[in-house]
């Protein structure tokens, strides 16, 4: 019967069945592994002067996606760094003439009135929203679960127009319209999102979001200038996550989030703590640099500043530069560990999936989208995960 004597083929002993986790959504990744991933990535970003970011972003997503378990099965991120790089280069080729045109139109506008070209910034806002939509489309089409991919239709430009008009309304109402803006935009995004032939929808309503978070609105001016700020921001983000997740539907599948308002406060304070620690270290390092440079120069510190030696000292130009780079990279690692990985885990651990059986037999559909949107988002500095 079997020509391989050393394998357990056919119907042998029972292999351990995947144990369904108590919560439908779980995360199995190791924090140390993620830290090693981003620390190594930061080093490579330094060596490659930033070009490695495409591959690091990809590796981070691969780690987060594949360690997430939904009904016992992990999704898979199938995007590759090379695609992101090509997307960036194409976006660059498109943005270059646009920048030039922007410059020329700006000159004509300025010709009529000084600083009349400032409203043209609005055009880039529109472009940024387009990039956000298309970047999400790329990420979604690279997400595969149970051998079926997510995908997205709809138009990036219509989305950008909606986002801009709603944005204008938010500005006019001093932020009060924000919940309705988010609800409207999310409805558009989810209506055009699919898992196989299962169409998505968004049932969160602006009013519900408003009811949960309105008290933050009058506090904002106060929060912006005091130590209260991170608390308010963390509460806002927690409310937003909970409201957003609880509104997501794919066919009959329904998500629910039980995230508490205080769930993210610790995360933000940890980041602030690390930033302060790293900042202190950097200041100490700067002081050391000055001391070293002065002693190489053979003068006292006071003399060193009084004379031209200060301006001509090569070590005093190079050493702080290196320190600054190290600071930036360390901050990147901290942000990625806390605000990507830990945030991801906290969001997942408060998420429940209802009626997952509706996704048990979904027919595959949908085409891959290109990474152009990601490229624009990178070039215009409007980012997401």
């Amino acid at each position: 019967m079997n020509d391989m004597s050393w394998t357990p083929p056919g119907p042998p002993q029972l292999p351990p069945q995947p144990v369904p986790p108590p919560m439908p959504v779980a995360f199995s990744g190791s924090r140390n592994e993620f830290f090693r991933l981003v620390a190594r990535g930061a080093g490579l970003e330094l060596v490659t002067l930033g070009f490695y970011r495409f591959w690091l972003t990809t590796d981070i997503r691969r780690h987060l996606w594949s360690n997430t378990l939904i009904d016992g099965d992990g999704p898979e991120y199938t995007g590759r760094g090379k695609e992101l790089m090509i997307g960036f280069l194409v976006a660059l080729a498109i943005l270059m003439p646009i920048y030039l045109g922007y410059f020329l139109i700006g000159i004509e506008a300025e010709h009529l009135k000084a600083f009349a070209s400032l409203p043209l910034v609005a055009f880039f806002y529109l472009f940024g929203q387009f990039a956000i939509y298309r970047a999400r489309r790329y990420r979604l089409t690279r997400t595969v679960w149970r051998g079926v991919r997510f995908w997205m239709s709809g138009s990036g430009w219509i989305y950008a127009l909606k986002a801009s008009l709603w944005g204008l309304l938010v500005v006019i109402t001093l932020g009060l319209a924000l919940p309705w803006r988010e609800a409207a935009l999310e409805r558009y995004k989810m209506r055009h999102s699919y898992y196989g032939d299962l169409q998505g929808s968004f049932e969160g309503r602006g009013w519900d979001f408003f009811k949960r978070g309105w008290w933050l609105w009058p506090l904002m001016p106060f929060a912006l200038v005091t130590v209260f700020g991170p608390f308010a921001y963390a509460a806002f983000k927690a409310i937003e996550w909970r409201w957003w997740l609880s509104g997501i539907r794919f066919g009959e599948v329904r998500l629910e989030s039980t995230m508490r308002r205080s769930a993210l406060i610790g995360l933000y304070w940890k980041v602030i703590g690390w930033a302060m620690l790293l900042g202190t270290l950097f200041s100490a390092y700067l002081a050391l640099c000055i001391f070293l440079a002065a002693s190489i120069n053979g003068s006292s510190i006071a003399d060193f500043f009084r004379t031209e030696a200060f301006a001509r000292s090569i070590p005093l130009m190079v050493l702080p530069g290196i320190g600054y780079l190290a600071l930036a990279l360390a901050m990147n690692v901290v942000m990625r560990v806390y605000l990507m990985r830990d945030l991801w885990v906290r969001v997942l651990s408060s998420t429940i999936v209802h009626n997952i059986e509706a996704a048990a037999n979904v027919t595959a559909r949908g085409e891959l989208a290109n990474a152009l949107g990601e490229g624009f988002a990178d070039g215009l500095d409007v980012a997401g995960f």
Binding site: P9, P12, N67, H111, K113, A114, D381
Partner: protein, 374 residues
């Protein structure tokens, strides 16, 4: 509740070694695997797929799970194995399992290419952009440059809140001075010039032939030669079309350095820092050239250049030691003064004074006495 399809399927007694997703639906199929010369995937005895070992690739998966795909199968078909023994057997058979995953060799390639790209960008910034600015500047039509100048002029007037000064006698003296310099320097009469009522001690040239002097500088000046040298310096910028060249140079440099650090709008801190290093060295060269032009023009008129240096010194004071000389856009004032002093030593200043003392007084009060004449 009714049991769904996949549950019903999997409820069959022989519980096999793997889960299979065929890539056409999300149905979870419990399958039996058979390893012969290829991998047979069977569900309830029916052959679903046959994967050749050389075509099998690993896909991302949580730890403790081996997830496989196959080049010849639908691209999203996946086979998931949790049994350690079976995993080991498969890993041993599939010799190209890891081939398509990012690996060490791939990273080395990325590093190598990035460094090559970085070196090429740096070379273009250091050599290509100045060359392009040099070659492109003469190609820019005058009319376009004049438009640019109009724009810059409008902005400058807003920023410094400066009104043009128009005292009649002062205006006449100013025009006489500019006219003399202009003719000597060989510039045509399209040059526009004026004095702006602003206390900032400065003067500047704008694209398209505009030279402006701020009242603040006029107040600090002690004789016509001082002002003449400054104006000659600005005319030098016009002559060399430095504003245009600097615009092309700055634009190109920002763009390329932004490309390097991934921010093509060029606003990041690192971008800003490295750009100011590059462009300020370029601008220092342009300033030195304009100084040369000013010295030559003043000497053609038979006037000394040193007073200009003295005026600048009076305005800035001793500069060395105040900031990083590598990032400043102008050469150090004391160096400029020394250079002008040295140039004057070559020939005596024997020309006529550029303005009579009455004209000089009129010029000095070009802004102040607009309403109530002295």
């Amino acid at each position: 509740m009714e049991t769904d399809v996949s549950q019903a399927n999997s409820a069959a007694p022989p519980v096999p070694g793997a889960v299979f997703f065929d890539g056409a639906s999300s149905r979870r199929r419990f399958v039996a695997l058979k390893l012969s010369d290829a991998l047979d995937i069977r569900e309830d005895g029916k052959l679903l797929a046959r994967w050749v070992f050389a075509d099998i690739r690993r896909s991302d998966s949580p730890s403790g799970l081996l997830r496989l795909s196959c080049l010849t199968a639908p691209s999203l078909a996946r086979l998931e194995i949790r049994d350690a023994q079976l995993m080991a057997a498969l890993v041993a058979r599939c010799d190209r399992l890891e081939q398509d995953l990012p690996n060490r060799k791939g990273v080395a390639g990325i590093v190598g290419w990035s460094l090559a790209a970085a070196v090429s960008i740096v070379l273009v910034v250091l050599f290509g952009v100045p060359l392009a600015a040099e070659r492109l500047t003469p190609l820019v039509p005058d009319s376009f440059e004049r438009r640019l100048g109009d724009v810059a002029e409008a902005q400058v007037k807003v920023v410094f809140d400066g009104k043009p000064c128009s005292n009649v006698a002062g205006q006449a003296a100013f025009e006489k001075l500019v006219g003399k310099l202009r003719e000597t320097a060989g510039l045509d009469n399209s040059v526009q010039s004026g004095v702006l009522a602003t206390s900032v001690p400065n003067a500047f040239a704008l694209p398209g032939g505009k030279v402006y002097l701020f009242e603040g500088l006029l107040e600090k000046a002690e004789n016509p030669d001082e002002i003449a040298g400054v104006l000659a310096h600005e005319l030098g910028h016009l002559r060399h079309r430095d504003s245009m060249r600097e615009l092309i140079h700055n634009g190109g440099t920002s763009f390329l350095i932004g490309l390097l650090f991934g921010d093509i709008t060029g606003s990041g801190a690192l971008v800003f820092a490295s750009r100011s290093l590059v462009t300020s060295s370029y601008s220092r060269d342009a300033e030195t050239n304009a100084d040369t032009f000013a010295i030559e023009t003043m000497h053609k008129l038979g006037r000394p250049a040193k007073p200009t240096g003295e005026l600048m010194f009076r305005v800035t004071g001793k500069e060395g030691g105040k900031g990083l000389s590598l990032v400043s856009s102008h050469p150090l004032t004391e160096d400029r003064l020394a250079r002008m002093d040295k140039a004057d030593a070559a020939g005596p200043a024997n020309g006529q004074p550029l303005l009579s003392s009455a004209e000089w007084q009129a010029l000095k009060s070009i802004c102040g006495s607009g309403k109530g004449k002295v």
